[in-house]
Amino acid sequence: MKRVYVNEEWCLGCHLCEYNCAFANSGMKYMTDALKGKKIFPRIHVEGKDKISFAVSCRHCTDPICVKSCIAGAISQKDGVVKIDKNKCVGCLTCVLVCPYGALSAGENGIMQKCELCLENSCGEPACVLGCPNRAIVYEERGEEK
């Protein structure tokens, strides 16, 4: 399956991916309405130190420990994509405690959110990748190791 992969040597740390993510998942028509003057809750986060930066979003693991650990049965995997049912999530953060990549975070209302590859929003493919100026994140098929 296609996933988002990171080329950290090309990441400028510009945080555009975070804005594009928050906009794509806002359901709004205009970026200013969705983002301007607001605290944003993206599902991808730029991390780094010194001159290194890289963007972290869900790896859509082949054997996701968040799915097995969710105490609300709210996280599931279908066709490789790990999804969260926000209706069932109670915000206990157990998924945060188990994800080795640090890929999940709470949304504005305390309910968890995660990258679902923009497959079900109006973007249709990862908005973070489409907007990355330097191909520091790419959306592609790489070898299945397992």
């Binding site: 890289f54 097995k68 609300a72 069932k88 405690l97 990549y101 190791e145």
Partner: protein, 410 residues
Amino acid sequence: MKQYVIIGNGVAAAGCIEGIRSVDADSKITVVSEENHAVYCRPLISYYLEGKTTPAKMNYRSDDYYEKMKCEVIYGKKAVKIDTSSKKVVLSDKTELPYDSVCVAAGSKPFVPPFEGLDTVSKKFSFMTLDDTFALENAIDENSRVFIVGAGLIGLKCAEGLHGRVKSITVCDLADRVLSSILDSECAPIMQKHLEDNGIEFMLSDTPARFEGNRAIMKSGKTVDFDVLVLAVGVRANTALVKDIGGEVNRGIIVNDKMETSVSDIYAAGDCTEGMDISCGQKRVLALLPNAYMQGHAAGVNMAGGREVFDKAVPMNSIGFFGLHIMTAGSYDGEMLEEKTENGLKRFFVRDGLLAGFILFGETERAGIYTSLVREKTPLDTVDFEILKKISSSAAFSPEIRRKKFGGVV
């Protein structure tokens, strides 16, 4: 075609069903469910009291789950015996279920100390099951004075769930601190103060000596008048089925990393078991939902002739009360390193160059990176632990490790 019997219908059983079906699509699976409910999210009962979820949303799996998984569920009956010579599980109504392999996922039951006069208390409850929760909910109103015996995870989650729905909540515990199983003596008072600020009252290092109707006379001589009593002293693993057939049992049913008990063709998973806690190198009962699922899954795969080991079990808890979140994992035996941050407190316990465990107060972002260090026993000299102590980030790993994590299929 094989015949599988799963005793219990909690999350370990669901893991077992899914483990079996990942190997064997068709053989018969029979699930014995003492509770008259499809598998539900047991840890959510306090969230239900709080109004944050509903019984429908608490279902762990979809409505057509058992049908899709081709399972027969026998509700409202209890497995009373495993007959290893005829290879049958015998139920309370004498029904016999032939098996090729069994998974005992029988969970645990509340431990109720023999308090003098407990039988004189009219409204007393445990807080373990959905039915306990409905019964408790029926017994309370806005004038109720609730007395909870036990300031552990169950007792305090119950207190949080009831908060705002009753007049007062008093919690006692024989221990000198709250959450004594997961918090050390410096961290526990911080949480206690936070709970007290939210109106929960505590009587620590104290326990009822006897009950006289709606009054508890404490060991200290103090008295507590209450309307509703919740007993959350502790739990005991349901081990009898395996003990009765000579299987190795300690505080839980002893399992290896394939979830085999010492009796052939009998597996066990979940809160009834005692497996290896790799953070301390000893067998322990780890009654946690993630472990229950993963143990159940491993049991199921192995029962169906596949091979799966679960050898990464560590205690871990993510739990919040009134907006203050804590996360803990592993064991606290080792050199303690503390980081105070603007919003919280982090304590790390380092032993033999490995992260043995941690306590995070308030600041919990990306805590799974820490948990993975405990679970994977990552030597701390291979990561930049000075960065990690301050901020949980993959920036602390080498570029090669990051390339594997973020550039490949994991």
